[in-house]
């Protein structure tokens, strides 16, 4: 269920921005996701849970998918491999590990609304994720 963690990380990041700016609410969240992140659909699923009770509660989530490209060391060019997990140059077949695009999990921009009356921002923060317990050794 790391998608829920990711969704909460995203909302925390957006809420920080909104609170710093003194915004009343967030109306739009633009996220760029690489195909290798593999969380396009599940981020949608976790989104409404993550925004509940936060300054982002009425925000639209916009997801932009980024295709996979790799740098072929033989051709010295950026290429689109034939499959998601087949990191080979489609032209010369050389294996490469250098992913150029496709791993992104990036918050691109946020759209903020400000009410007329300048009221101090409410402390809208999502509930903290389950905190791991770390007993001391011995």
């Amino acid at each position: 269920m790391h998608e829920l963690t990711l969704a909460k990380c995203l909302i925390d990041l957006v809420s920080e921005q909104a609170e710093e700016k003194g915004a009343s609410r967030v109306t739009r969240i633009h996220v760029r996701l690489g195909v290798l992140a593999g969380i396009m659909r599940s981020l949608y699923t976790c989104y409404t849970t993550a925004i509940r009770g936060t300054i982002c509660e009425s925000a639209i989530l916009e997801l932009e998918e980024v295709p996979l490209t790799v740098r072929c060391p033989a051709c010295d060019e950026v290429k689109a491999p034939p499959g998601l997990y087949n990191f080979r140059c489609p032209d010369c077949g050389t294996a490469t590990h250098e992913v150029v695009t496709g791993r992104e999990m990036q918050l691109v921009s946020v759209e903020l609304d400000y009410d007329d009356s300048p009221t101090p921002p409410a402390p809208h923060r999502g509930a903290p994720a389950h905190a791991p317990t770390i007993p001391r050794s011995q």
Partner: protein
């Protein structure tokens, strides 16, 4: 576990569907979420305030990556080699660790951070070897994160030059995304599993520098094609190193111990600001 609300009610799945779907009113398709906030968005328009678009360009995992960066700097400053062990449950991480601790005795100091959802059983097994160990229980969490590892590292009070093994939660999916500040991830695949795991769970094998094929002593008894497993691993990660061993019999352990010691020297060279090549030239 239900990935939406985090409650334990949705764990049972029949043919991929939640067995108690009705309890989970939120088990619907993604597009509905898009339309619901739309209403809120339109309402927002009816106000008389102003609207601003703010460019952010930050990784969603920025906070974890920040914590991981701090861990990495601390490891480097204290010449600690941190290795993040990732695998399915039951691949033999803890047995591999206990035998590795024995093999490294007299060579280097070893400390262990154990990650499990519940129990301190693994930490107890490590403690019996005499190595320093801290157990992290993630509760409902399916992976370790950099913050928890940083706190566990505080509790360990490692001496300089220690090799720190971080045994992640047994899970071939989620831990791939979370940088802990380790020098590298070590994926463990056992012969009791399917040889196609590297292509079924490609992210983990793509993110790892080394794959250990564990339980090679089972080769006569199981239908596992080791060559095929290696080919699959290289398909998702052309530069991955591979070591075949058995943590039970000790077969192949020399190569593993050599790998750890060589990686430790390389990591220290990097921490000292020298490249591996420069160091090799001076040697």
């Amino acid at each position: 576990m239900c990935g939406v609300c985090g409650c334990g009610e949705g764990e049972v799945r029949i043919d991929g569907k939640a067995a108690d779907d009705e309890h989970h009113g939120h088990f619907h398709g993604p597009h509905r979420y898009h339309s619901e906030p739309h209403q809120g968005h339109d309402q927002a328009h009816s106000g008389h305030g102003r609207r601003e678009l703010v460019e952010v360009e930050k990784s969603i995992l920025a906070n974890n990556d920040l914590d991981a960066g701090v861990n990495r700097m601390r490891f480097a400053a204290e010449a600690v080699l941190a290795l993040n062990f990732v695998s399915s449950p039951g691949a033999g991480k803890t047995t591999l660790l206990t035998r590795t601790i024995e093999a490294l005795r007299g060579h280097v100091l070893v400390a262990v951070i154990e990650g499990d959802q519940e129990t301190a059983n693994d930490a107890e097994r490590i403690r019996e070897t005499g190595a320093k160990v801290v157990q992290i229980n993630t509760g409902r969490g399916c992976h370790l994160d950099a913050d928890a590892v940083g706190k566990a590292y505080d509790a360990l009070e490692c001496e300089a030059g220690t090799v720190l093994f971080i045994e992640n939660v047994g899970n071939l999916v989620c831990p791939a995304a979370f940088d802990l500040g380790e020098a590298c991830k070590v994926a463990i695949l056992s012969l009791a599993e399917g040889e196609d795991k590297p292509i079924k769970y490609p992210d983990m094998f793509a993110a790892s520098d080394l794959m250990i094929l564990n339980k090679v002593d089972l080769a006569p008894y199981v239908d596992f094609d080791m060559d095929k497993a290696e080919e699959y691993a290289r398909r998702v990660n052309p530069t991955i190193e591979i070591i075949r061993l058995s943590a039970t019999t000790g077969e192949g352990f020399d190569a593993w111990v050599e790998w750890i010691l060589a990686t430790r020297i390389a990591a220290r060279a990097r921490a000292d600001g020298r490249s591996d090549i420069a160091q090799a030239r001076h040697a």
